[in-house]
């Protein structure tokens, strides 16, 4: 009995390109459709997309490089406050503030990444926790600069859409939405490109086995620090747009550890070390609590959220995107091709049903599989952040 499923498509073939372009077209269509929603929904969606962007930043450090961060709320806040202070006190063009904010968050990320050279796993998580705890306190400590506990307000007239967009003041939500959507799009493309590059391989190798990575010539110090910097910068950029959208900032309300936990939760719900996981995760962590608020006047909201979280870890630990990828591989499979040697003759198609069924935990039987889309390789979804072996852990 020969089954026609799964359908095999060669990577970088016309069919594969067509699928990719089709996927991007569908996503773009969804984004355009969403922009026609009413202002309230659009505002919610804007925040969810900003969460998604922040989670994509976190994904680089935690998902791909294995550095668990509980301090990313600080980067989000740092970006937001950089924009807020430059616009409110120095009258900058809001969009121009993205540049210094990204540079600042990158620099802070490098500094936070510094301890990761000596401190690993759960200890590093606690160092980033320190950052997350310290940020609101620092904001409150310098009220002259940041507005302190009272908060920082930006005049609405400084945040209006520019004239060339043709968006009226009443519809300004559309402008903020597109800012968030564009930022997310750019970040996703950047992350997808980066994680499929040589640098991405170095990141994953660092995550999976540090010693082996170093032996293969990966510069651990530079990889970890640069990734943390980039990760912080991306999350910071999301914070910038958050400030532009909201117009008023309060560290005690928006940028506490709770935000960090929301971001980590979103990352795990969406799918660790996947390209689209942050998008699903960002939408989920914003909308699930919002919907469950309507049940029993919100009293049970947190309870339901907690139960969902635990259940998710038991039912689909690879996250929604991971689950979808796994299921879709029964129907469609992308056959990986080596990226560097286009002149090499194409390999014969594998039998429709491989001799060794891929299940989580099995080894890729081909070295080229290392270049494959991470969704197609079960091993890369393992996110061991520290050794499970008590002999080395304790």
């Amino acid at each position: 009995m020969t089954s026609t499923l799964p359908v095999l498509i060669r990577e970088r073939s016309a069919a594969h390109r067509g699928l990719q372009i089709g996927g991007i077209a569908v996503l773009t269509g969804l984004a355009v459709y969403a922009s026609t929603l009413n202002q309230f929904r659009l505002g919610q969606l804007t925040i969810a997309l900003l969460y998604a962007t922040a989670i994509a930043g976190l994904n680089l450090a935690t998902g791909y490089t294995g550095q668990l961060s509980i301090g990313h709320s600080a980067f989000f806040g740092l970006g937001a406050y950089t924009t807020g202070i430059l616009v409110a006190s120095h009258n900058w063009n809001p969009l121009l503030t993205l540049i210094p904010a990204a540079v600042l968050c990158f620099a802070v990320g490098l500094v936070v990444g510094l301890p990761s050279l000596r401190i690993r796993g759960i200890n590093l998580a606690l160092v980033t926790l320190a950052l997350g705890v310290a940020f609101p306190e620092l904001i409150d400590r310098f009220p002259g600069l940041t507005g302190g506990q009272i908060g920082l307000n930006i005049s609405i007239f400084q945040l209006l859409p520019p004239h060339w967009t043709g968006i009226s003041i009443a519809d300004r939500g559309v402008y903020y939405y597109w800012l968030a959507a564009f930022l997310l799009g750019i970040v996703l493309v950047l992350c997808a490109t980066l994680t499929r590059s040589r640098a991405g391989l170095a990141m994953k190798a660092t995550r999976d086995r540090e010693v082996a990575a170093a032996a293969m010539g990966v510069n651990l110090a530079w990889t970890k620090m640069a990734v943390f910097g980039l990760s912080g910068a991306i999350t910071g950029l999301a914070g910038c747009i958050f400030a532009i959208y909201l117009g008023s900032l309060s560290a005690d309300a928006s940028f506490t550890l709770t935000l960090s936990i929301v971001l980590i939760t979103g990352l795990v719900i969406g799918g660790v070390a996947t390209t689209l996981g942050p998008v699903i995760g960002g939408l989920a962590v914003y909308f699930v609590p919002y919907w469950t608020q309507n049940i029993r006047q919100g009293e049970a909201s947190e309870l339901i959220f907690g139960v969902i979280l635990i259940a998710l870890m038991f039912v689909m630990p690879e996250g929604l995107v991971g689950l979808i990828t796994r299921l879709s591989r029964r129907i469609l499979r992308i056959d990986p091709q080596p990226p560097d040697r286009p002149d090499r003759p194409a390999r014969p198609a594998r039998p429709a049903r491989p001799a060794r069924p891929t299940r989580p935990g099995s080894r890729p039987d081909d070295i080229d599989a290392a270049h494959a889309d991470e969704g197609a390789k079960p091993d890369s979804r393992k996110t061991r952040l520290s050794s499970p072996d008590p002999g080395t852990a304790g």
Partner: protein, 298 residues
């Protein structure tokens, strides 16, 4: 001198509570290799339980015992049914499950006992007049009681760790789970026991800490405590019970003294400074003050 002593007594009381919670965190870390983010919420849940019993005119000592027993069951059940099935997958998955447990416990507190803050009866006399004078400073009996009870718990734990067969099994399991299992130690039961004891210690800490300040039993009470306790556990070395206790005391005292004597810090930066100091220590000694150096086999 008098003000200094007042502050010192406060610092030691807070430090004793941090030490107890840090000890609980270390026990879980040694068993499972993770920080129990729900540790504070387990303690809060059992504290609420004790408070609920005190409102029914049951003696506080009985409530403390009930809370400790409930904590033990809660901790052991969490290990068996939530952590053990998931911990093999990844550290991140375990942390998320614990965050979920955090959410569930906190929300249950609110649903069962209401969201308003409550005052809790103390195990020790805690009237404004029940103190002894030490160089003019007031040392309240409640503080002394907290110190003694925490000291007793810590001493008891060390006696169990170092003097009993059970403690030997626990140390063996923490050291190498596979080897321990091969020598016939019931590793699963030991892990449950470790989590159970750890949550029981947390329950004692919660019941002791809450009466020190009126109106302090609320949904947000334990989270700051957990932060300080994790800082203490990290500072002392995550796998070192003794280190956790010493570091807990140090952090409790520093937290009171720093804002008082270093004006730049003021009332707002105490957590930030405490953490900055700890990060610096970790940079020099990544394993913490008393932790075992991590050796990686290749």
């Amino acid at each position: 001198m008098q003000i200094f002593l007042d502050r010192l007594f406060d610092g030691i009381s807070n430090g004793a509570i941090y030490a107890a919670l840090a000890l609980a965190l270390v026990m879980v870390y040694r068993a499972t290799g993770t920080i129990n983010f729900a540790q504070g919420e387990m303690a809060l849940f059992t504290t609420y339980l004790a408070w609920g019993l005190t409102t029914k005119h049951i003696p506080v000592a009985v409530c403390l015992l009930a809370a400790t027993a409930a904590g033990f069951v809660l901790g052991a059940a969490s290990e068996r049914f939530l952590v053990r099935p998931i911990e093999k997958r990844s550290l991140l998955a375990t942390l998320i499950v614990l965050l979920g447990l955090f959410s569930v416990l906190n929300a249950s507190d609110g649903l069962i006992w209401g969201k308003g803050n409550q005052s809790m009866a103390s195990l020790f006399p805690n009237k404004l007049s029940s103190y002894v004078s030490v160089f003019g400073a007031r040392l309240y009996w409640a503080n002394i009681g907290v110190w003694l009870l925490v000291a007793a718990v810590v001493a008891g734990m060390f006696a169990v760790f170092n003097g009993t067969r059970l403690g030997l099994h626990m140390r063996a399991t923490a050291n190498n789970r596979e080897s321990a299992a091969l020598t016939g130690i019931p590793v699963g039961r030991i892990l449950m026991l470790g989590w159970g004891i750890s949550a029981a210690i947390g329950a004692i800490a919660g019941v002791l800490f809450t009466p020190l300040t009126p109106d302090s039993l609320g949904l947000g009470e334990m989270f700051p405590l957990l932060i300080y306790a994790s800082a203490a556990a990290l500072f002392g070395g995550l796998d070192s019970p003794g280190g956790a206790v010493i570091a807990g005391l140090i952090i409790g005292i520093i937290e009171v003294m720093l804002p008082a004597y270093v004006p730049v810090i003021g009332g707002q930066l105490q957590e930030a400074i405490a953490f900055a100091a700890i990060v610096l220590v970790l940079l020099l000694r990544p394993q913490g003050l008393f932790g075992t150096r991590e050796v990686e086999r290749v």
